[in-house]
Symmetry: C3
Subunit: 139 residues, 3 copies
């Protein structure tokens, strides 16, 4: 069995951002030399999400609107987490609704994705350096 780990770094310009990281994940798989296995991709932070969906800007707008409806950023006083001096309680909730991690099959050295499946880094409390872990096991 082989294993390989890398960390990808992000620093978004806006509070919330949705970045297609599929090519970066494939590059890590290429480096690993693993042909058959499983590839875990997760943020190492708790106000961000790695999810798989469509790379279409209208849809990304719809995701963002749904998340703001279910767990709005303002008023920040509505959340007890923000009593600690933070203003990012909504980002913790949004990440939970979108999910933490994605697990991808690796087949013949490639991400085994359907035609429209793309891997996204969903940032809900950006404007600072944050990491995504990629861990692959297989052979």
């Amino acid at each position: 069995m082989k294993s390989h780990k890398e960390e990808l770094w992000f620093n978004t310009k806006t509070r919330r951002e949705y970045i297609n990281i599929t090519p970066e994940v494939q590059k890590v798989i290429d480096k690993s030399g693993i042909q058959e296995g499983l590839c875990l991709v997760n943020p190492m932070h708790i106000t961000a999400s790695v999810f798989v969906n469509d790379d279409e800007q209208g849809l990304i707008h719809d995701f963002d609107k749904l998340l703001e409806t279910l767990a709005p950023h303002a008023p920040v006083e509505q959340y007890r987490h923000n009593d600690t001096g933070e203003d990012n309680a909504d980002a913790h909730l949004k990440r939970q609704l979108m999910g933490r991690e994605s697990l991808l099959a690796v087949t013949r050295g490639k991400l085994d994705l359907g035609p429209w499946e793309q891997i996204f880094y969903g940032e809900f409390d950006g404007r600072r350096k944050k990491r995504v872990l990629v861990k692959i096991i297989g052979e």
Copy 2:
């Protein structure tokens, strides 16, 4: 280490449908010959979900009602994704709320599930052929 991959195909009669696929997943594990490992099950499409819950029709009604409340299908004009000519933005959102994939432990050649855990294919934009990937690694 061994690995094994198969694709299961579905073509539902209605837009939304919830299908218990536990026996099909166990069959793939049987074929793989893997005794100890991990089994990833995910739709290869972005308007469907693989999730684990109870096989009880009242509950499935409750899931469907919750999803229609949080991300209703109509009016389709409420979603920017549908400006592309699609009418399935709600299906992308529903899949995100229900989750993409399930990862199951395999122990002594069997799905290591609790007494009520059943694996479901949740279709949110059906009436066409769609695939589910099953990838097992272990030995």
Copy 3:
């Protein structure tokens, strides 16, 4: 390849409870002797969740409030699942929104978590004995 499995048991005093299980999961990894691999943690029940977020009591209050807003416990008659004599339909829905399982990278024998990532058992229908499965594969 090595694999190792254990079950953790919980019996909460209240219906809903959120328990940090990070040290227990690390102990299972220690026993496994696995240095590089993947660690699956999932409830074996369908009214509970294993999720990764911040160990901060205000935030846990915010999670609980969001879940009660989206899928309230009462009135129990609002759910068709409860027609079966159960009163826990909301717990099935809450678990689905919070997610079933977490998959953690294991690197050099340790949980490969970011600085604030903590693993939680989220119970939504407690006051009885329930299990969490930990399955690690790697070497």
